[in-house]
Amino acid sequence: MKSQIVYKIQRIFTNTIIHLLLLTVAVSCLYPMLWVAASSLKTQETVFKDTSLVPREWRFQNYVQAWREGGFGRHFLNSLVYTVLVVMGIVLVSSLAAYGFSRLEFPGRNAIFYIFLLAMMIPVPGSFVALYALLNKLRLRNTEVGYILAMINVGLSTSIFLLKTFFDKTPKELEDAARIDGCSKFGIWWNVALPLAKPVLAVVVVFNALNVWNEYLLALLIFDDRPKMPLQVALQTFQGEFLTNYPLLMAGLTITAVPIIILYLLMQKYIVKGVTQGAIVG
């Protein structure tokens, strides 16, 4: 009887500690971005003095100013266009290739697939130097097309791998039926295979969207012209010019972070799936 009480007290005690730990970490994850979002509505004078999460007055004109004068409107659109085009490119190119590697016969199939796989595993920290030189030579540096193609390449290997693994596990009956009905190979890929692959395509879309929106190094190397830059690089140059205007910088940070947080919250299920699958890939 007594031991049961001790056991119960012990249980309550450990549960409290566990909850305290979890709560502390959760608050630390939420607080920084919440504080920046709240402070983006304050004035330059009060931004560090008033540290509350609810600003006394809501200066939405900070956002208007950041959007227009700070140029965040332009960079936001840039980021959006790059993300959408790159993700569309990756979905098309990688699903075509994955379908080919999984379903079609041609000499060198496995060898070529293994080269893609190998690229996922070998780190080449200097390759951006060579890529810079190559883009210069192709006159693709400082162009939107160059950046979009380079970013499609970044997401290609992993996406092909995820999709090929999916196609390998999927039964072929539907495709066989379509073939008997006289559907072409591309028709089968588009009308049968892609709709079946929707759950994996969602993982591919979410991860690549996160990756492109947050990308920094290639954008830094490729773009010289300010109007072409995506948000991540623009934030850095902005910091140099409007050094002392903290609420504007905070508005810019919020504009950059909020879309990705919304995407994450909406597509949360696929992120969990992608992380665990991606871990198996590694």
Partner: protein
């Protein structure tokens, strides 16, 4: 008939053609160019490159190398990596253990812990810079510590060059632990509950269950997370750039920043940057090879 087969095979190649083209131009060619360029002295602009053989590499390994910060930058990336391997992964594991049970708000925690990983490094670096900077006595962390009566823990987090590297490591861990957390949690959920029940019947307490069941079964997952942590952290650079910027410039750097620096440096140039990149890449391959070896040894036990 055979013409039709040829046609069919060519059609099959069309499926991989776009991927192979993009991959060749943007991955394979730069990959081989890195090796080639590392043997030249070239500023990246001039029409002619000067062949220098292995001199770039000899310079990197020489006593008075042209980039005196290079090896120190590797050591500093190593420090951040060690911090992430131990502190960050231990925290991730602990939190995963805490969430691998019937507990309130479990899904809330799962969602929240992955918010730092979805933010970009630029945003994370700049946000923490705003929190930790000393302008106008801003430093929210110090104010919090003072409010808690922990005045002797206050620091100039990003201005003191003895602290700044640890600050980077902590913020890096804050940003990254969510990955490990999700992978550990997925791993824990694959352990059959019957094992624990059987152990409990045999009279094993919670600690014994953890040591005899959870830990051994999680070794492959722990090593996997370890490998991902090393490869990711060693190549991180944006946080250093955005969080501490110029205050401690020169005293704190990481390899990718040095490569970028060499690239923009007239005296060193693209060739030297490629040689540094290769040296570093080989080091990373060796590290992950050793880690793989260790993991094989463990899983055969």
């Amino acid at each position: 008939m055979s013409f039709q087969r040829l046609r069919s095979t060519l059609e099959n190649y069309l499926f991989i053609l776009p991927a192979v083209t993009i991959f060749t131009i943007f991955y394979i060619i730069p990959f081989f160019w890195v090796f080639q360029l590392s043997l030249f002295k070239w500023d990246g602009i001039a029409f002619t490159k000067t062949f220098v053989g292995l001199r770039n590499f000899m310079d990197i390994f020489s006593r008075d190398s042209s980039d005196p910060l290079w090896w120190r930058s590797i050591a500093q990336a190593g420090y951040i990596t060690l911090f992430a391997l131990t502190f960050q992964n231990a925290l991730a594991f602990l939190l995963a253990l805490a969430c691998d049970r019937e507990i309130k708000l479990k899904n809330f925690y799962r969602v929240v812990f992955f918010i730092p990983p979805v933010l970009s490094e630029v945003v994370v670096g700049m946000v923490w810079r705003l929190i930790l900077n000393d302008i106008d006595g801003a430093n929210l962390l110090n104010r919090g510590l003072i409010a808690l009566g922990l005045e002797n823990l206050t620091r100039h987090w990003i201005y003191d060059q003895h602290i700044a590297l640890t600050t980077v490591a902590i913020v890096h861990s804050w940003k990254g632990f969510g990955w490990g957390f999700l992978i550990f949690l997925a791993g824990l959920q694959t352990i059959p509950k019957e094992l624990y029940e059987a152990a409990r019947v045999d009279g094993a307490n919670a600690w014994q269950q953890f040591l005899r069941i959870t830990l051994p079964l999680m070794v492959p997952v722990i090593i996997l997370v370890g490998i991902l942590t090393v490869l990711g952290t060693m190549q991180a650079f944006v946080l250093v750039k955005t969080l501490i910027q110029s205050e401690v410039a020169g005293s704190i750097s990481v390899p990718v920043l040095r490569i970028l620096n060499s690239m923009n440096n007239q005296d060193l140039g693209f060739g030297y940057a490629c040689a540094q990149g290769l040296t570093f890449g080989i080091l990373l391959v060796i590290i992950s090879f050793v880690q793989n070896r260790i993991s094989k040894k463990f899983s055969s036990l």
